[in-house]
Point group: D2
């Protein structure tokens, strides 16, 4: 059963919801989910609408052009997606494999609607894990000298594999602007702190030194500013004075897995809209 | 700025969302919130739609009759509410006053959109609290012998005060069917356990004896079956073997206040739909 | 650096803490952790004390007999453990592999101080996972007819592998009393509900039908009464009316993994004392 | 039943626990709680020990001098407290009264073991609340010009009322060093963010702008560095893109009340030790 999804934002105005649902209805589409959010302060409407194409009278290839006049009338930023177009994901990882295993296991259990054809690493530790799940593994030796040329090779590889989304599953290298811009809003990172606290290196060590009573993890889209992209999801867990930095690392790993996998799932399900450096995440 | 809200449920069918938003749009209403949920298993659509009446071309008194044909066409259960119709709330309480104070403080801080003209109790402890917030206090001595006749008096009092919603804020009396039925789906209770665990008396004592590691609180609509009405909200907090039954009571009180006040707020904002003995709570 | 741990409970009495710490101190032991709990209602003292044997003047083999007079004087239930005695764990699993992978990954990352020489299953799905972590896999076809004889074989296998702890990591068979009694207080199960709510089959289905707003998971020692053994750990996660039974299963799996692995870790670190059908879990 | 409590920290060394428990035991004291923590990295022992004086053979006035030789031998930082010495608390508040009401209600319900003889404010809003609980209210008009002289008056007032602990329950004035130093480690503040994120003004506005998915509150001892004293307690709550800055304020208030009252309770129960700009909070 094929479905279509439109994600959009536009200046809030009378009649938008009616116009969009009318468009779907007049072609015999049945709306299965519709969610909207109005940023009253800035007068912007955000909307996600999902409908069944079972009896839809327009063929898939004509929906976009049929919808365009409406989109232009209301000055929409919009994108059209089809449920059966399965996104293709590449996972970047360094030595800590808990997020990699977590994503591959969820993928195998059918919880992530995607293909995962490629794992890229600057270390060798992940090779066996990728193999266990029959995913191609590619190793790149990255240094401060060769980062740009290595990224060029990686970008070529991503193109060859037709990758839609890059997931940094504890990848301990800072990407250069060429990579960030090539996959703008299509790179998701997990940072092991409750951002904006503890940006940068060793956030668990920073949290331990500060004496906080709760730690967190944050998944976000990658932008050129380090650990500062639009936040997709966060979660926290209680700690105490008894917890060493190593205990924080261990407790934090559970958060990292959940927070990263939720962000990836929501992205794949086309539930995320970015605006003003923030995200709207529809239920 | 007056707004209208329609809450509805009906068999899911093509064109409903479009028909409803079209109705609002054709009379120049601007939809400010629209939320829907489809119970795919049972084929039921639930919807809450809120729109501004600022430029709406129908007068308030005619909206209901204008909407009726649409409602009948789609076999809706529906209700129409106006933002400026402030519901009137009576609070029932016994000796534990934390939920009473919490509700009255939130009311005074403008967090609960209602009037609270009346506090009813089977004890005297709450009198001073009611007075501090300038709310009328009525005491009834309740025994197993006089419960029905007392309830008759209380019902008369609720009618005189034009009460829309009854909140049992730790009221330690079981209501009889006459009261429950007179305010069907308009009585909210707080039960001091994570239902369906620990129904009935002394749930904190039961939880302590069982050795659970987490306790909870549950707010629900009152039905004739004890502690078994549709659940509106729940929350939990971690405990340990160090916590005595008294510690559980103390920790649980924070949950009770939050869980009850959220339920009351959502009810007042017309965000709750009941079906199949469960609730849909729109964001 | 070898350490000794004593776990004990006894009637609370003046001088116990002093006597125990004096015993350690007089033989030059340095107390690294000491934790106690007094059940004031029942007058019982619980204690866990861990000390370094680096300069301890008693050899390991003589500690037990040297401590016995003290233990008898205070009528203690007690056990002595050594940090370097690594417990040996067998994991039982059926078709859902998320808890199995989670335990094996934590084991490989050094988070669980044990050996895991054996995975037992009534299905074949877990074989490849066990192989990936180089753990022996044994399959048993279990039916209602052969359960007792199969358990005899399994018990023999556990004895051959010198197993100290059995972990039921989503093992969908009810053990008979012969197995439960052979490993009394040494079988840990994960139940996929917030006990005591939703005992027995399909707890996520039960929770979905009831309309709860939070679901949970519970790890406990297995006793002859189904899902009713002493609770070790619980955790909860918020859900909404939008979540189907399948969503509950998916969200619950994250809880199951965390709640089971914590229980196993605490058991391995000798942090759990059972009394009155409840647990004391020291920090 | 009078009890004594000793809080101490000292370099970790063999025999400390034994020496302390031996001291109590030799005078017939019964240890009711003993909790310790070793900072292994810095080799520091922290301890809290509470014992019954029912049959203790030393009079209260002699305990301190009897314990001193032991304290000096082990180079302890230590303090001795008696359960029946009820601390006296002054609450400072500005216009937001939720924390003030919360503390006064818990006090009246017997949850806070203290006296609260004084409420100080730079506004008039709190006067009626203080009166309702029969607590003296003192108003000071504070401006940037008169802050130092007003603080001198306030300090004199605190001395007259024999105040042990100052609680800043949403007091929107920055204290000068004279006040901070006069009540060093005896001023507890609530900051309405998850520190170290969002220091300073309007943290809810900052959080809303940043687009975080979780907000928090932090209670801490006040030091000369703004919002940077040792953290006592934190808690967090989930938010979404639907929440306005006003929603964050409302949701955050529940956190503020819980996080502040826990810190006050633990301080009153002598459960907090400060070191390295962090806190040890014993169970």
């Amino acid at each position: 059963m094929e479905k279509a999804i439109i994600l959009l934002s536009c200046p809030d105005k009378e009649g938008i919801v009616s116009a969009i649902s009318g468009f779907i209805s007049q072609h015999q589409g049945n709306i299965e989910h519709a969610d909207q959010h109005i940023d009253a302060q800035n007068g912007i409407l955000f909307m996600r609408i999902e409908w069944s194409l079972e009896r839809f009278t327009l063929p898939k290839t004509e929906i976009s052009s049929a919808f365009r006049p409406l989109a232009e009338q209301f000055h929409m930023n919009w994108s059209l997606h089809f449920f059966q177009d399965t996104p293709r994901v590449a996972i970047f990882v360094s030595r800590n494999l808990h997020c990699l295993y977590d994503l591959l296991l969820r993928f195998r259990d059918g919880q992530l609607k995607c293909e995962i054809p490629l794992v890229i690493s600057n270390h060798k530790e992940a090779e066996k894990a990728a193999g266990h799940f029959s995913v191609e593994f590619r190793h790149f030796f990255v240094s401060s000298d060769n980062k740009e040329s290595i990224e060029k090779e990686q970008l070529e590889l991503l193109r060859q594999h037709d990758i839609d989304l890059v997931v940094l599953a504890r990848y301990m290298q800072i990407l250069t602007p060429q990579m960030v811009n090539a996959f703008s809003r299509r790179i998701i990172n997990i940072h092991h702190s409750f951002l904006p606290a503890f940006i940068g290196k060793d956030p668990y060590g920073q949290a331990h030194k500060k004496g906080v009573k709760i730690i967190g993890a944050t998944s976000h889209y990658v932008t050129e500013a380090l650990d500062n992209g639009p936040i997709i999801e966060q979660d926290t867990v209680r700690i105490s004075h008894r917890d060493s930095r190593e205990d924080l690392i261990r407790k934090g790993q559970d958060l990292e897995k959940m927070v990263l996998s939720r962000a990836v799932q929501w992205h794949l399900e086309r539930k995320i809209l970015v605006y003003n450096h923030k995200t709207v995440v529809f239920d």
